[in-house]
């Protein structure tokens, strides 16, 4: 399995991380080293094995569908890089 520059570009975009064009070949190289290492997993016979979801055979707990907190817009917005009139502000999303 070998990752080329084009695949590295696509993965970076999927991950929403800008990678300058000139750094893509080195990134592809690192991916190849890591994936080569991961490739060992194909040696294991996993026939009939259920993929593990949780380390404890514990059912994920559920709680009642009720409001437990709220009415704290200031706390929610306190760390926002840009907040206006009680909302998070972002660049224009709709053309």
């Amino acid at each position: 399995m070998s990752i080329d520059t084009e695949t590295a570009r696509r993965v970076a975009h999927l991950a929403r991380i800008a990678v300058p064009e000139e750094e893509l070949p080195a990134l592809a190289g690192e991916f190849n080293a890591i994936l080569g290492f991961i490739e060992q997993l194909s040696e294991v016979d996993v026939e009939g094995v259920e993929p593990m979801v949780s380390v404890t055979p514990m059912r994920l707990k559920r709680r009642e569908d009720v409001v437990t907190d709220g009415s704290q817009p200031q706390a929610v917005l306190a760390n926002a890089p840009d907040a206006r009139e009680g909302f998070f502000a972002v660049p224009k999303v709709v053309e």
């Binding site: 990752i3 695949t7 590295a8 993965v11 970076a12 975009h13 999927l14 991950a15 929403r16 991380i17 800008a18 990678v19 990134l27 690192e30 991916f31 080293a33 890591i34 994936l35 290492f37 991961i38 490739e39 060992q40 997993l41 194909s42 040696e43 294991v44 996993v46 094995v49 259920e50 993929p51 593990m52 979801v53 949780s54 380390v55 404890t56 514990m58 994920l60 707990k61 709680r63 704290q72 706390a75 929610v76 306190a78 760390n79 926002a80 890089p81 840009d82 998070f88 972002v90 660049p91 224009k92 999303v93």
Partner: protein
């Protein structure tokens, strides 16, 4: 009393209750030790006002006779724990200036018990690293040195600041988190004791997430008794964490009898790696002898899927990280990149994440994105989860056959020099966690205890792995090992 910073939690507790010292005195001693230890870069945020206020409150509680064991004990808090109103940024630029509006469950339990926060501790960015070289605050430095060589060594990672601070007596103990060995490997590199509890024993709520099915917080302390005391305060069911176990927390300290007669200790043959340094082999053999002399039965065991633990980890952890770290988008908290004319929301995400994340975090997020992407999900992610099930089954079978604990080395070598691995490819660095990562995959408790030193005078540790939920029994075995090893060496002060 002299050398208040050298006290253990148990020692400080007893002295405080007898009125021989006060929490304010111990706290002031720690604060001045921290001031003089800038060269270690262990504390990245100092909170002396909070510390002194908490210490005064603790002294009042002790005077009133209402004093849990942690009351008045000055701690360092890993930067991965959200602390209300105090910068918490997981050593990442992307969380620059982030002041949580809430307190993590672990820290609020510790503070409710009267513990004192001296400040926040350095770590690898988002806990991704084994040498504390990926932090936005710069490297944390190990207080130990190789003989007379003054080369700076790594304290290990990701809890490198925690390990360095405890080893250098800047605090009495510290919080750590362990996703693949991030408590146990730095503990071994600095000659302290570090426990990774069973997954679900300690709440993950308010701890900045790396890989949610593996992350677990635990104590990093000067000895095993302190681990028991501090875990007691950290552990317990938390309704805010849906994976937190509804189990009673036993009195861990009371379980430290040192009596391990008849306990069965497994020695897994798969941990005898090719090319392992002789001194690690010798350390391990000595540990076996110590436990045997204490009355334990030693049994050779096999954990056949050990070899596949690291590759499985390097699929599962990045996959979960890529999902967890999707929240760093420059909208709700942390850094947002400056945008150019005409940039839309996608450019905002891409530039923010490119600027805010360091190289190792970007690499892991992208590897995680790749293994989860269409066409590769089954080949990588699902296969890794199946291998994980087999790794856990190996342990289940060994425990079902009567083994009480498993003894292994904690690390493949002593601490290495900062920068020494710079030329190595990422996989070389990942091999540091080869003995510890199986424990996270299987969700088991594991503890690293210092038992010897390397040829050039650096501490070396052994790891004990226990049955799920039996931290008390595990710490008792570790206590017996600690007593037999009698490790008392401390780093010479150069900082």
């Amino acid at each position: 009393m002299s050398d208040l910073t050298k006290l253990t939690i148990a020692g400080a507790r007893d002295a405080l209750r007898k009125g021989e010292t006060t929490s304010v005195e111990i706290t002031e001693a720690c604060l001045s030790a921290i001031e003089g230890a800038g060269a270690l870069n262990a504390f990245v945020l100092h909170t002396p006002e909070i510390a002194l206020e908490q210490a005064k409150a603790a002294d009042a509680r002790i005077k009133a006779g209402d004093a849990p064991a942690m009351c008045g004990i000055p701690l360092g808090i890993k930067d991965l724990f959200c602390t209300k109103g105090v910068n918490s940024q997981a050593a990442s630029a992307i969380l620059g200036g982030f002041k949580p509006e809430y307190e993590s469950t672990v820290t609020s339990q510790l503070f409710d018990a009267g513990a004192v926060m001296l400040g926040k501790l350095n770590m690898d960015e988002f806990a991704m690293g084994s040498s504390n070289e990926t932090s936005t605050y710069g490297n944390a430095v190990n207080p130990w040195r190789r003989g007379n060589d003054d080369a700076a060594l790594t304290p290990g990672g990701s809890s490198g600041g925690s390990a360095s601070a405890v080893a250098a007596d800047l605090c009495l103990a510290a919080t750590g988190t362990d996703t693949g060995g991030s408590i146990r490997q730095p503990a071994a590199f600095t000659g302290i004791t570090g426990l990774k509890p069973t997954y679900g024993r300690v709440s993950r709520w308010g701890i900045i997430a790396f890989a949610s099915s593996l992350d677990q917080a635990g104590p990093m302390t000067k000895d095993v008794r302190d681990c028991a005391i501090m875990l007691q305060a950290m552990a317990g069911h938390d309704p805010k964490d849906s994976t937190s176990a509804e189990l009673a927390v036993p009195d861990f300290e009371a379980m430290l009898t040192g009596d391990i007669k008849g306990k069965v200790i497994g020695i897994p043959k798969e941990y005898r790696m090719k090319g392992m340094p002789e001194e690690i082999e010798a350390l391990w053999a000595e540990g076996v002898e110590m436990l045997k002399a204490a009355g334990a039965e030693i049994r050779d065991i096999s954990l056949p899927h050990t070899k596949y633990a690291l590759p499985a980890y390097y699929v599962i952890a990045p996959a979960e990280a890529s999902s967890n770290l999707a929240r760093y988008d420059g909208v709700r908290f942390g850094h947002r990149a400056k945008l150019a004319q005409g940039d839309g929301i996608v450019e905002m995400y891409e530039k923010t994440r490119a600027e805010g994340f360091g190289a190792e975090v970007k690499r892991r997020v992208m590897v995680g994105t790749y293994v989860l992407s269409a066409g590769y999900y089954d080949a990588y992610y699902n296969r890794a989860r199946k291998v994980r099930a087999l790794i856990k089954r190996d342990f289940d079978e060994v425990f079902a056959a009567g083994v009480d604990a498993i003894l292994t080395p904690a690390t493949p070598s002593a601490a290495f020099g900062l920068g020494e691995m710079a030329e190595a490819d990422p996989v070389q660095m990942y091999l540091n966690d080869v003995f510890t990562v199986t424990v996270n995959l299987a969700g088991l408790p594991g503890i690293a205890v210092p038992t010897g030193t390397s040829a050039n005078g650096l501490p070396l540790g052994l790891q004990l792995i226990g049955r799920p939920w039996e931290e008390g029994d595990l710490m008792n075995t570790a206590y017996a090992l600690e007593q037999a090893a009698g490790f008392v060496a401390k780093p010479g002060k150069w900082w």
